[in-house]
């Protein structure tokens, strides 16, 4: 028989309460039986026996220490002797039963069963789409906050009970169920809703690569239809994940290495990328472009290696600084020592360097490196790695050119994949384009949004998202232009730019307004977020669409439609 986990807590309690309940029943039975058997004498001196009804009544109020007195008649001394015995017996019985009940309630196993049950119930009741977040560390919390901000539900698993306690303390808009458990165990994942019908994705963000790998495999086998987003910092784990079809593998170090290489190779493309992934509505700050020349890389761990992997094709002169001796055959000059010491930096050639990357896994060391380096060479381009969110104030105080925060990179990447899947596809295109192309795109976007970071959103021309357009599209050629016009005044353009149209496997980047749309096209837009509701009304409301297309209001009633005749509707 399969145990039903929903009732676990209840059955645990019942099993533990078996003995005390039997003791209580036995005590009541013995006391009542004794009272019935012992003869008494009534007021007239006649022999009298207590019956079961009155005996039970007497024992009930005596055992619970209420004590109404000797009812229905005054007792004889023999009866009183028996009652003394009953009183002590029942007090012991109650003490035993209540003590046991309290012990059960405080029992660790029982409380775990209870919280597990509560968690499972709240997951089961989730009617809306939700994401399953495995690992609630810095990255997980950052992502959870953003998802909550976007009104997206999520469920959290973490192995550390304290982090799950924190989940309750953070004031999220919607209630987020949290489970203390090992995400490597498939049972925990299933309990957290992996196979739930409204689970739309799994995000594995634990700091243990092998755990993330285990989650990826579980998702692939138990619910292959939903995407898994996995953090991986080791190259071989990432390759392993990719081998069984994990669609989104996020390596924060690799990602940053890629960005840095892009910023060196093509600053324009990098700026476009910054624009499209920034926080919408914030002012865009002009950033210094990373120069070419001699670079120092302090720390050749996972981060350093990822950086080198990406910038080695950019024709830079790199010197590595690491306390361990060079044992991995690299073609670069290797200085053994701590980057925090001025002598080591001088030996590595700080005076002719143009940039320094402080990439050790110790925040204080990283800060010490860059402070020393800036003193020796004030014009250095500084890339700083921040490991812990707690040190943010220190890093903000030091004005670096790039601050790498792995948890933020992962959270941004996850959000981009989850909210606008088309954007990551477009960004992949951007990375292969040249500066001139990127500059022209930036110019077009800034013509629409000014210096504010644009919002990006995507639209799918299907019956759910764009019923009006789908209905019209079979009878009339609709161009992209229709979706760009103002729904209040069709002669004005809305502040948005189409970035890409995806039709099947084919991509059209920066489509012209004359582009003819078809059903099931997916379009990526960038622009002011205030445009979105207006565009929605064009997509959904046939009357608004009609106005935008032809500049005439459509007659709604049957009579007016007849009167207007065929000319109103093509």
């Amino acid at each position: 028989m399969n145990p039903n986990p929903v009732n676990t807590a209840f059955f645990v309690a019942l099993r533990h309460m078996r003995a005390p309940l039997i003791v209580l029943i036995a005590i009541f039975a013995i006391s009542v039986g004794g009272l019935v058997l012992i003869p008494g004498i009534d007021a007239q001196g006649n022999p009298w026996r207590m019956d079961f009804f009155h005996a039970l009544y007497f024992i009930s109020y005596t055992a619970t220490t209420i004590g109404f007195g000797e009812i229905p008649r005054t007792f004889t001394d023999a009866q009183r002797l028996w009652v003394i015995f009953c009183i002590f017996l029942s007090v012991i019985g109650w003490a035993y039963a209540i003590g046991k009940l309290l012990a059960v309630v405080q029992d660790r196993g029982f409380s775990q069963a209870l919280t597990g049950q509560r968690f499972e119930r709240s997951v089961k009741r989730l009617g809306e789409p939700f994401y399953l977040i495995c690992g609630y560390g810095e990255t997980g919390q950052l992502l959870a906050r953003s998802l909550d901000h976007l009104n997206i539900r999520f469920v959290v698993i973490d192995i550390d009970p304290e982090r799950i306690n924190e989940l309750d303390l953070q004031d999220y808009l919607s209630d987020a169920p949290g489970l203390v458990g090992d995400a490597r165990l498939p049972n925990n994942l299933i309990m957290a809703g992996l196979t739930h019908r409204t689970c739309v994705g799994v995000i594995a963000l634990t700091n243990d690569d092998s755990a993330n790998l285990a989650v990826a495999i579980a998702v692939r086998l138990l619910n292959p239809a939903i995407p898994a987003l996995c953090r991986a910092t080791a190259v071989n784990v990432a390759a392993n994940m990719a081998s069984f079809g994990t669609r989104h593998i996020i390596d924060p170090f690799d990602k940053f290495g890629e960005y840095l290489a892009l910023a060196i190779r093509s600053p324009g493309s990098y700026q476009l990328l910054e624009w499209l992934t920034g926080l919408p509505g914030t002012e865009l700050v002009a950033e210094r472009e990373p120069p070419r020349g001699h670079w120092l890389v302090c720390g050749y761990g996972r981060f350093g290696q990822a950086i080198i992997r990406h910038i080695e094709h950019e024709n830079l002169d790199v010197t590595l600084i690491d306390p361990r001796p060079s044992d991995r055959g690299t073609p670069w000059r290797w200085v053994v020592g701590e980057g925090t010491r001025a002598e080591t930096l001088s030996e590595a050639g700080i005076d002719r360097a143009v940039g320094i990357i402080a990439g050790t896994d110790n925040d204080i060391n990283n800060l010490a490196i860059v402070v020393t380096a800036r003193e020796l060479n004030p014009d250095l381009f500084v890339v700083l790695r921040q490991n812990l969110q707690a040190n943010r104030e220190l890093f903000r105080a030091f004005n670096s050119d790039f601050t790498v925060v792995p948890s933020e990179i992962i959270a941004h990447e996850c959000l981009a994949i989850l909210t606008t899947p088309l954007l990551s596809r477009f960004l992949a295109i951007v990375k292969h384009k040249d500066d001139a192309w990127a500059d022209s795109v930036v110019a077009r976007i800034s013509a629409a949004t000014g210096t504010l970071v644009p919002a990006t959103w995507s639209v799918t021309l299907d019956r759910q998202q764009a019923p009006a357009v789908v209905e019209m599209i079979h009878r009339f050629a609709i161009t992209l232009d229709a979706l760009l016009r103002d729904s209040a005044d069709r002669d004005r353009r809305m502040s948005c730019v189409p970035l890409m149209v995806v039709r099947g496997a084919e991509e059209v980047e920066i489509p012209a307004p004359e582009f003819v749309l078809r059903e099931d096209d997916r379009i990526l837009f960038a622009g002011l977020s205030s445009v979105v509701p207006h565009q929605q009304s064009i997509l959904r409301n046939p009357d608004v669409l009609h106005y935008v297309l032809f500049g005439t209001e459509v007659a709604n009633s049957w009579v007016w439609r007849k009167l207007a005749g065929a000319k109103a509707r093509p």
């Binding site: 078996r18 036995a26 079961f52």
Partner: protein, 127 residues
Amino acid sequence: MNLEKVVFGFFIVLAATLNFGFFIGEIDKPHLHHVSELFAAIVVNLIATVLKFGDRTQIGAIHLATSLVADLQLIAAAVAWAYAVYMSAEGLTPGAMASVVSLAGGAMLANLISVTILIAETVMLRR
């Protein structure tokens, strides 16, 4: 031999036999149904019920259900008896006695089911 099984079987069978002892005899004759036997039947039934707590199998669930039914019927019988003897003006009439005994008879049916399940379970074990 398992002591737990002995105790379990003992209480279930004793509940049924006591119940039967109270039930047997002409239904409306108070002197044929001693109230002490009803009391004993209730106590043993309650203990049998508690013994069945915490068993999560399907058979355990049916066991518990039959016991709960028997408890309910027996307690109803006891209440009916107490009402007839102390509260009603007529006292323990043949009609009142008949309802007490028939309630206990219903409880006996539930107890018989319990015993049947116990036997079926034992037969299925084959050892």
